[in-house]
């Protein structure tokens, strides 16, 4: 077999996107995937299937609680969970075959099996039939992603104590569902099963939910989710989880208080760790940091020539879109082009209802950095479209430099926040100011007008609210 220009280990949103770009640039490209299907965690057991369930259950909530207000009468709205799960599986299958055909059209050779680096420029793949195949390549990109972090006192058993992977596949809603960790995964899956009838309790070690997002909006989200029926225990440290007869009992401390939680299922969603071991990277001499992430320079090159790493396996937020951008930039560098990433313009999103989206600095971060800043806010209840949609919850909030007016951060809480945040990301990417956004004509009536109004409120000239 001919030598490849680039071989990518891992076919998640980092790896497969890097492969497409490499194919586009005319590089002879290969991709190695240990699982049966391409697409990685995101496509198979992460972003995509969770969004399928979140959307389905959101529709259910509409049918059950909102439809009547619109004059739509749905008698006895109920869920066929089996069918809901089948639809989710179909969504994943559609995406799987999409990625597979993209590999073909971009002339990317796919190897199914566990890839191991045996030396710089050499990768051996253990194929499904037990044979191994040795592949030579000029460049290797490690894009192996991450795995859910396990708690030592609450090891995953796949049945009662589960990770997000299993929590997406329950065949019936657990009567009592305990979630450890109030980050994106815990809040999203907590929402799914809460909507489907589970009694959901979320425990969080920190005094707040949704760490990394603006505190003001996180608090608003917590209030909203509480109203939807989810119970939160903050500043609560879980000490042990015991399994007895398929049921779990978790003990935790909250201040001086001892708390006990019984549950049919326990989701541990306390973060993810880089999937960096067992790849032969250590043997090849690749350096790691203290949290087992692979060390790379600004062009994603490891300390070993010809070996690169991107995505969750290196430093930075563990986000699919961050991995994709890195994959593109990395391949473009290999091809002698000039790939860049602006880490200040990568948004994070939690797909609850309302959705929480944020990019750039939070207000607390601006304070910490001692930046002189202005805040602009606009509530959706003052937006005509939000009123027509009956989606009044949430606000848009901008953090802008007091002197230059440059947008430093944008935060949105709204049913459609994940889509609305993109505009702010674009403006930030171009180093834009709140005035730039405020002077851009927005169509009426749209939710995006609220984004413009919040930008106008930075200089206290929003139109549909009293500017404070």
């Amino acid at each position: 077999m001919d030598k490849f220009d680039v071989l990518i280990i891992g076919s998640g949103p980092g790896g497969y996107v890097a492969a497409i770009r490499a194919g586009q640039l005319g590089l002879k490209t290969a991709i190695v995937e240990k699982d049966k299907e391409l697409g990685g965690t995101c496509l198979n057991v992460g972003c995509i299937p969770s969004k399928a369930l979140l959307t389905s259950t959101d529709h259910f909530m509409f049918a059950k609680k909102e439809a009547e207000k619109h004059g739509i009468v749905i008698e006895n709205a109920h869920v066929d969970l089996n069918k809901m799960q089948q639809r989710k599986d179909k969504v994943v299958k559609t995406m799987n075959s999409g990625v597979r055909s993209l590999m073909k059209t971009n002339k990317v050779t796919t190897f199914e099996g566990l890839g191991t680096i045996t030396a710089p420029g050499k990768v051996s793949v253990k194929l499904a039939d037990g044979k191994t195949q040795e592949i030579e390549t000029k460049n290797i990109i490690i894009a192996t992603g991450s795995a859910a972090v396990e708690l030592p006192f609450a090891k995953f058993d796949g049945k009662t104590i589960v990770s997000s992977t299993e929590a997406l596949t329950f065949t019936e809603p657990p009567k009592k569902f305990l979630v450890i960790g109030a980050g994106a995964v815990g809040l999203e899956l907590g929402s799914v099963w809460n909507r489907l009838g589970s009694e959901v309790t979320i425990l969080e070690f920190l005094p707040r939910i949704a760490i990394g997002f603006d505190l003001e909006l996180s608090n608003l989200l917590q209030r909203s989710l509480t109203a939807q029926g989810i119970t939160f225990h903050l500043e609560t440290k879980v000490g042990a989880v015991k399994i007895d007869n398929g049921r779990a009992t978790a003990t935790a401390t909250k201040g001086n208080e001892e708390l006990k939680f019984e549950a049919d299922k326990v989701l541990v969603s306390v973060g993810r760790k880089p999937f960096s071991e067992g790849l032969g990277a250590e043997k090849a001499g690749v350096e790691f940091d203290e949290t087992k992430r692979i060390k790379v320079d600004e062009h994603f090159k490891t300390n070993i020539d010809g070996i690169y790493a991107i995505g969750d396996v290196i430093a930075g937020p563990m986000l699919a879109h961050k991995a994709s951008e890195e994959g593109i930039a990395c391949v473009e560098r290999i091809a002698g082009k000039d790939g860049h990433i602006n880490y200040d313009a990568i948004a994070g999103i939690i797909y609850t209802n309302p959705e929480l989206a944020g990019v750039g600095l939070t207000e607390d971060q601006a304070k910490e950095k001692k930046i002189d800043y202005h805040v602009g806010r606009f509530p959706f209840r003052a937006s005509g479209r939000a009123v027509a949609n009956d989606d009044l919850e949430g606000i848009v909030k901008f953090i802008a430099d007091a002197k230059t007016d440059r947008i430093l951060g944008a935060h949105i809480l709204q049913h459609a926040a994940s889509e609305l945040i993109a505009e702010a990301v674009s403006v930030i990417e171009f180093g834009g100011s709140s005035e730039d956004l405020a002077r851009t004509c927005h169509s009426h009536p749209t939710l995006s007008e609220a984004v413009k109004e919040a930008a106008m409120n930075v200089e206290k000239r929003a139109l549909h609210i009293i500017n404070r």
Partner: protein, 424 residues
């Protein structure tokens, strides 16, 4: 071989000008006939074209005063136009095993005024900035609001460095005044938006210097009179249709005043002369300047041999000049060599004013707004369309009696146009 680009002689009495804008940059390939730069003189601004094709090397910076005949650039005609190499991406070759990027960072592009962000557009507009001269810190070298704000703030200081204000006519200069206030000029520039400082155009600066020079050289005095416009108005109304049909141009007031001035100049020739050092020069021709206001300032194109021209010719000349002035197409020769000037402040509504001489001329007639006013006619009060007339003159050459006589002659010709050689 290098060919020198010299400042051409653009007209009599013009010895210097200012290279206001380079239309080509050093290193540019220019074709013969391409406009190289704009030369501004106190009379007019002209584009100077390349006489040869080749690569330009500009020697003189924008804003510098240059003398006629001075070399401001060279053109190397041995060089061919530089081909811009098309961007090539040969992927196979570009793959570097070591992974070192072979491409250099994206070159900064000059900011295009059309693609400025909304906030930058506003600041550039309000602060009169030149976006192509601001360096951008945004994506691919784009200008951010911060860049524009910084440029607006720094401009004051930068300009001060470029051109220290020259000392005027005694007294402390403006710059000294300001530094005495504590040197916070920068903050004064635009921080609160209460005033905006901007550089005067070279043409404006020249006009200013010329006016002050006139005030300081001649002994300017103004005499006034008034004239009843009834007769001229009546004549115009009666003849307008036939005149327009015949000549393709309207019969205005100006031709009457030009003709009246010629008659008055014939009667009082000293007004049609000028002082040069210790001599007085008497002109025996009648080239009358007609002041025209334009966006860039006042210009005074000259109607040649006004004594020999018909009313129709005069009106046509004036109309042509007005069009040229609006379009900025007046040539140096259109503006030089007048013997007397007429200025009509009436078009802006002025009732009375003292015109200032157009050196080295000795007289200037000021026309004003026609207003119906009560006047005594045959012992009765009547409303008549009246115009005040003003003649400013150089008292060094012209006596008061001569000046008053001149103005009365003009008045008489206007009040009784039959005294003029009416040829329509």
């Amino acid at each position: 071989m290098s060919v020198e680009v010299k400042i051409p002689a653009v007209g009599e009495s013009i010895t210097s000008g200012i290279v206001s804008v380079w239309h080509k940059k050093s290193g540019d390939f220019v074709n013969a006939g391409d406009a190289l730069f704009t030369l501004e003189t106190d009379k007019v601004s002209t584009e100077i074209a390349a006489e040869t094709s080749g690569v330009l090397d500009a020697i003189v910076p924008e804003g510098q005063e240059v003398k006629i005949g001075e070399v401001v650039a060279t053109i190397d005609d041995s060089k061919k136009p530089i081909e811009t190499a098309p961007e090539k991406t040969s992927v196979g070759d570009a793959v570097s095993v070591s992974g070192k990027p072979t491409a250099s960072p994206t070159k900064e592009k000059p900011a295009d005024a059309k693609t400025l962000s909304p906030a930058v557009r506003r600041i550039v507009d309000e602060e009169h900035l030149q976006p192509e001269k601001i360096s951008g810190t945004g994506k691919s070298g784009r200008l951010t609001k911060a860049d524009a704000l910084a440029a607006a703030q720094n401009r004051g200081a930068a300009e001060e460095k470029v051109e220290p204000p020259s000392r005027g006519y005694g007294g402390p200069s403006i710059a000294e005044d300001r530094s005495a206030e504590g040197g916070n000029r920068r903050g004064e520039q635009s921080a609160d938006g209460r005033f905006v400082r901007k550089k005067m155009s070279p043409l404006r600066r020249k006009i200013a210097a010329q006016l002050v020079m006139a005030q300081h050289t001649a002994a300017i005095l103004t005499t006034f009179n008034e004239c009843d416009m009834s007769a001229v108005q009546e004549l115009r109304t009666k003849s307008q249709d036939a005149f327009t049909k015949k000549n393709g141009v309207k019969l205005g007031f100006m031709s009457f005043f030009i003709k009246a001035s010629v008659e008055a100049l014939r009667a009082v020739p000293v007004v049609n002369g000028r002082i040069e050092d210790e001599d007085f020069i008497q002109n025996n021709f009648y080239d009358i300047g007609v002041a025209v206001g334009t966006e860039r300032g006042l210009v005074v194109p000259i109607v040649r041999d006004a004594d020999k021209k018909s009313f129709a010719d005069l009106e046509r000349d004036i109309a042509d000049y007005a069009t040229k002035a609006r379009e900025g197409k007046l040539k140096i020769e259109d503006l030089t060599g007048g013997t007397f000037t007429i200025s009509n402040g009436g078009v802006y509504g002025s009732l009375l004013s003292t015109p200032i001489l157009n050196p080295p001329q000795s007289g200037i007639l000021g026309m004003h707004k026609i207003m119906p006013r009560p006047v005594a006619v045959d012992g009765k009060v009547e409303a008549r369309p009246m115009m005040y007339l003003a003649l400013s003159y150089d008292h060094r050459a012209i006596d008061g009696r001569e000046a008053v006589t001149f103005l009365i002659k003009v008045k008489e010709c206007i009040e009784d146009p039959k005294k003029l050689p009416l040829d329509f």
